[in-house]
């Protein structure tokens, strides 16, 4: 169940994390895990990022590092920033509706 939910909300979660700050793939994976999503397989994470890039919501650039291999950084485009705000608001509305019906199940349990 959680896995299906995650599929529906991964794009939103990535947009929100990137709204906070730009990051590379593994960093985003760690931040998702810290937020409580558990380990997100790279096979799920990277295609999501690619989809957001194709939609023009995310831009990427490669950064070389003095200590390690070069890394691909993801950042929001202006469209991505607007989409993050709009989708977060939609999500809050939807969450409130689910909370209201979930409360009914808890009351009768």
């Amino acid at each position: 169940m959680r896995k299906q939910w995650l599929h529906g909300f991964l794009d939103l979660s990535l947009l929100c994390l990137l709204a906070e700050r730009r990051d590379y793939g593994l960093g985003l994976g760690q931040r998702l895990a810290e937020a409580g999503f558990g380990d997100i397989p790279g096979g799920t994470l990277y295609p999501s990022l690619l989809r957001l890039e194709k939609q023009g919501l995310v831009q990427t650039d490669w950064e070389t590092s003095t200590v390690g291999p070069r890394r691909k950084y993801f950042d929001l485009t202006p469209d991505g920033r607007a989409a993050a705000a709009a989708r977060a608001a939609e999500w809050r509305e939807f969450r409130a509706a689910v909370d209201r019906v979930a409360a009914l199940a808890e009351e009768t349990a």
Partner: protein, 272 residues
Amino acid sequence: MNAAEWHAACDRRLAELGVDPREARRLADDSAAEALASGLHPAELFGPATAYATSLASAARQPLAAPLARARGPVVLRLAGVTKRYRRREVLRGVDLVLRGGEVAAVVGANGSGKSTLLGVCAGSVKASGGTVERAARIGYAPQQHGVAPYLTPDEHFRLFGAVHGMGARKAVATGTRLAAGLGWRPRDTVAGKLSGGTQQKLNVVLGELDRPDLILLDEPYQGFDQDSYLDLWAQVYAWRDAGAGVLVVTHLLHDLDKVDHVLELQGSEDR
């Protein structure tokens, strides 16, 4: 499988799925760099190469090239009181529909309710017993069966169907290849009879669209399609609609119906 083999397998699969070679190269390079940066074997980071390539290809798929503008709004299919009887069995009874360019109609109903018969009537391959059928002159038709010639390759199909529409061989093959890529399929030199059911159906769909018809008739196009291709196909249906074609789709998956303009529910046959 070592890392290099993993990347090669990923690259091959991307090509098979019709991803542009330069784009495939870029995706493969990115994946290799990402795996290197993580210090993990690519299979550990991304999972199996073919599954990962399939997800990437689906995420990377561009909307099809901008369709040509078509006149929007004229009636492309008008059914009035269409009936079909086989002996005493009434398969269709009084079917009415007005489909305009830029609209999608879904035909639903149980097995045996006459969905394929209705499509045949719309295409002109089945004669109605009563009522009238008016339709646009240029139609594309992807039937459920018998749509492809088993001993011809996809390219030969493109040339043959292109010739019917007065298209040059080269243009027909180029157009067919581009449309196939939109469905995640790269046609190869294999005769149609050896293609899987899902791929044969993709060939059918491509042949139906080859001439930018005003009316597109699709019969259960998802049969044999995997989930991603199925979604791509619906994206394609809406792309045709947005380009101004009228699309009639036989389906029985109800969740598709909230976006279509007409739902035609067939009741099934009755013995009289």
